[in-house]
Symmetry: C2
Subunit: 300 residues, 2 copies
């Protein structure tokens, strides 16, 4: 299968977009589309009346509705931005009303369970995951530049039509994504267990360790910039992260075991006489960190 | 003993300051003093001719010398900013040349070994540790606002004269420190093992885990803002951090054990059926993180 980043014919560009669930990610898609693709026709669906009212008030879409069939009618690209647990039931409800060539994608942080649930329901489904976010939730926290320069994963299967993948890849690039990377869903889930879920857990566990070590959280009250940086992702929404870690439990557990093993190896280098090994580990980490891009985006 | 933050008579304010070792911290002291205390007379000592030349070229001090007795002559406050391992020999060399009422402080990240080495040599020594820094080193990385709003620890002993502690506390406040906190040196070292050294290790170990999990560091190349934030301190100078962790090895090992225990407890909550406990841990961490101040400073 060609990767979605290859040159593609014009029909792989979306002209009518439906966003289902205008929260932080869905709302940022609307804002980015308005800013970068003013010709794109936008429809929005939500079950929450206040969310729809805000979309209307801010003029973020052309069609604003709590009627799923009406939201997907005419759309050539449908983006599912609901919590992962709700995606299958929402998809089953709108599937019969899709246009014949409509492509569906989603923005869930864990892909294997979503792909397993949606691929049988939708003829042109491509799982997606933009590596962007904030520690805040909801349309009020949405930003037009949320995806600028970010990495977006796609998880096509053997069944995925190349043109469908290309349409989704082009959509993300048009919203500002710096890189679109296609890989199998299970591989994606192992990867994000390491680069996203493990850092979140490490941040949360570090906070708990520092808070509980001294009475009344007195140690935490002395935090400096290092501790604040390391613990920053832990401010993310607990409900969202409970769902993410539960959906990806096996890969996360494996990442945690790898981390615990590395931690134990590091601890042994603290013993007297092993300063050269300690220095080598710190040099390696410093070199690796300096190769990473700077913090240019809000935290997920 | 009164804490150094109490109201104090005027003689507890420094008028002539000697900075020994104008690197990142020493250089930032010079810049902050020039910006906030233009009346303060500054002398600088270094063994490195290029460092002295840069201090002279930038006009950062009134006396610039590689002669230790000349540097401390006339100074009522001497700030030792050399690496911790060099402090005792430098102190022994300048001690006979100090003015009778001169107070000496230092900026080392670990306090018990420094206090044990310097307190017997210097009649008016007060250990200090500004919780500020950058992942860069040297005078070129120094900043006038490095200490703005930061926390500064002092580690007086039973022998410390209250006026000496007050002079050092006032010095840091005059440079912009938001808070000066006095505590025993061993307590300080246990505290920074938790809030500074443990986060550094966690950042380094996380980088190693992610880098080694996939071939050729492919996982690290997909880093998002969360991983970048959590690993940021690991870019710090390996030589400096090898010294810090070695000097504080016992407290660091204890902090690591506490962290490993909390990590294991968290991992158990990933098992099916324990979602409520998982959610409770994530809620607690999010609440704790949201209570911390935002990242307003460069990383140490």
């Amino acid at each position: 299968m060609p990767t979605p980043t290859e040159a593609v014919p014009p029909r792989t560009v979306s002209r009518r977009l439906a966003v289902l669930g205008p929260g932080l990610i869905g709302g940022s898609i609307l804002l980015a589309a308005r800013a970068r693709q003013p010709e794109l026709r936008l429809s929005v669906w939500s079950r929450a009346g206040d969310e729809l009212a805000e979309v209307r008030r801010r003029g973020l879409a052309d069609v604003v509705t709590d009627d799923l069939p009406a939201a997907v009618r005419g759309a050539d690209l449908v983006v599912l931005c609901t919590p992962a647990g709700a995606m299958a039931s929402v998809a089953a409800e709108f599937a019969p009303h899709l246009e014949p060539d409509a492509v569906v994608t989603d923005v869930g942080s864990v892909k294997a369970p979503v792909v397993a649930a949606l691929d049988p329901l939708l003829p042109r489904f491509v799982g997606g995951h933009p590596m962007a976010g904030r520690e805040l939730a909801g349309l009020g926290a949405a930003r037009a530049d949320l995806f600028a320069g970010s990495l977006c994963f796609l998880t096509p299967t053997d069944r995925t039509l190349p043109a469908a993948g290309a349409r989704v890849a082009n959509f993300w690039k048009a919203l500002g994504a710096g890189r679109v990377h296609a890989l199998p869903a299970t591989e994606h889930d192992e990867l994000v267990a390491l680069i996203s879920h493990l850092p979140h857990i490490v941040a949360a566990v570090l906070l708990e360790t520092v808070a509980s070590a001294w009475p009344d959280g007195a140690a935490l009250a002395c935090s400096g910039p290092g501790l604040r940086s390391v613990t920053r992702p832990a401010a993310g929404l607990p409900e969202l992260w409970t769902e993410i870690l539960s959906l990806n439990r096996s890969a996360v557990a494996s990442a945690l075991r790898q981390f615990a093993g590395q931690l134990e190896a590091f601890a042994q280098c603290l013993e007297p006489g092993r300063e050269a090994e300690l220095a080598a580990r710190l040099r390696s980490a410093a070199a690796r960190r300096r190769e990473l891009p700077e913090l240019g985006q809000p935290e997920p």
